[in-house]
């Protein structure tokens, strides 16, 4: 099943499939950030593959000077009971990715969470606000340079 999926992706997108790997039976495919909506739409609508459930969407901070942030999409097919992982990487100074809320509506809150935790901006998102931290919070907690204990004074506490 992994082989078939990879073949179809290669046939359709050719050079856009930057790399692919398999570990413990799971297939991971890396695509460039500008092709992500097309790849997702193809995977969802192809009659043979039909990856119609977006299980998860989140960010990844590699902490490298080039291509620091990654966005990972975990897809699941209800018809074939099969999973695939799509990854795309963005730069630190321009963390913009196209939104996939047009393909799966569930991506709405997942992308908001990724924006809140990493600061990756999803172009075309209907309502990009913070979801976990309060609106006035200025930092992005899951980045590797944010300390675990937080920055004192960044969150409001009522007086005793």
């Amino acid at each position: 099943m992994n082989v078939r999926t990879l073949e179809k992706l290669n046939k359709q997108f050719g050079s856009s499939v930057l790399e692919s790997s398999e570990f413990r039976g799971e297939l991971t495919v890396v695509v460039p950030a500008d092709k992500i909506v097309e790849v997702c739409r193809f995977l969802k609508e192809d009659p043979d593959l039909r990856f119609d459930l977006l299980a998860d969407l989140f960010g990844l901070d590699m902490y490298t000077p080039v291509k620091r942030f990654g966005v990972v999409y975990n897809l699941y097919s209800l018809k074939n009971h099969h999973r695939i992982r799509i990854k795309t990487f963005v730069e630190e100074n321009h963390p913009h990715v196209q939104t996939v809320t047009g393909v799966w509506s569930t991506a709405n809150w997942h992308e908001r969470e990724t924006f809140d935790m990493f600061g990756i901006i999803f172009d075309g998102h209907p309502d990009l606000r913070r979801i976990y931290m309060p609106d006035e919070f200025e930092h992005h907690p899951l980045r590797k340079d944010f300390p675990l204990m937080g920055i004192p004074g960044s969150l409001y506490l009522p007086k005793k």
Binding site: Y132, M133, P134, P141, F146, P147, L148, M149, G150, I151, L155, Y156, L157, P158, K159, K160
Partner: protein
């Protein structure tokens, strides 16, 4: 009633139908035996608090007959669960809405000191923004532990102690200082 009444012989004369005590003690006895908790159930400790109100560890036999979710009708606020900075404002607002006299029980490790979460979004102990009367240890504390806390709080009330409020007698405004009588 626990303190000895002055031996005036009146009790011996009239028997069991009369009790002599101070007004303060009587009122505190009423307060302690009818504590209506306001359950600020936030996370896992809330489940143990529900078990504390449930059929096995019955809290209503100690006087906490109903859990009043409206702060205006409650005496004691049991904060059960991890308080984050986002939630702290809400907890403080609700505490301010409770009428005097009021007490706070900090249930569990997360409210006493932040618990096992030393992270950016958890307040390390609710005593940073609320005056707390009682800390209950455990993660989560067993319902028996919470019952013991309730009984300890009842003893505190009888001793006229409250961290966050001034206990006045019924009919006396707590902040009102009576004027001294004019002595001509």
């Amino acid at each position: 009633m626990e303190e000895r009444s002055p031996g005036m012989g009146l009790e011996k004369a009239l028997g069991d139908s009369l009790m002599l005590t101070k007004l303060e003690d009587a009122i505190n006895w009423c307060r302690k035996n009818s504590l209506f908790p306001m359950p600020m159930g936030i996370s896992c400790c809330a489940i143990e608090m529900m078990a504390f109100a449930g059929p096995r560890f019955d809290s209503s036999r100690f006087g906490s007959e109903v859990f009043r979710f409206s702060p205006r009708q409650a005496d004691v606020m049991i904060v059960a669960g991890t308080t984050t900075y986002k939630m702290a404002r809400v907890v403080r607002k609700i505490y301010d809405q409770m009428p005097d006299p009021k007490w706070v029980i900090a249930m569990g490790a997360c409210t006493s000191s932040g618990g096992m979460y030393r992270t950016y979004s958890v307040v390390q102990g609710i005593d940073q923004f609320l005056p707390v009367d009682l800390y209950v240890a455990g993660c989560p504390p067993r319902p028996d532990n919470l019952l013991h806390a309730l009984m300890t709080l009842q003893q505190k009330i009888q001793r006229r102690e409250s961290k966050g409020s001034t206990l006045g007698l019924v009919g006396e405004f707590p902040h009102h200082k009576p004027k001294s009588p004019i002595v001509a």
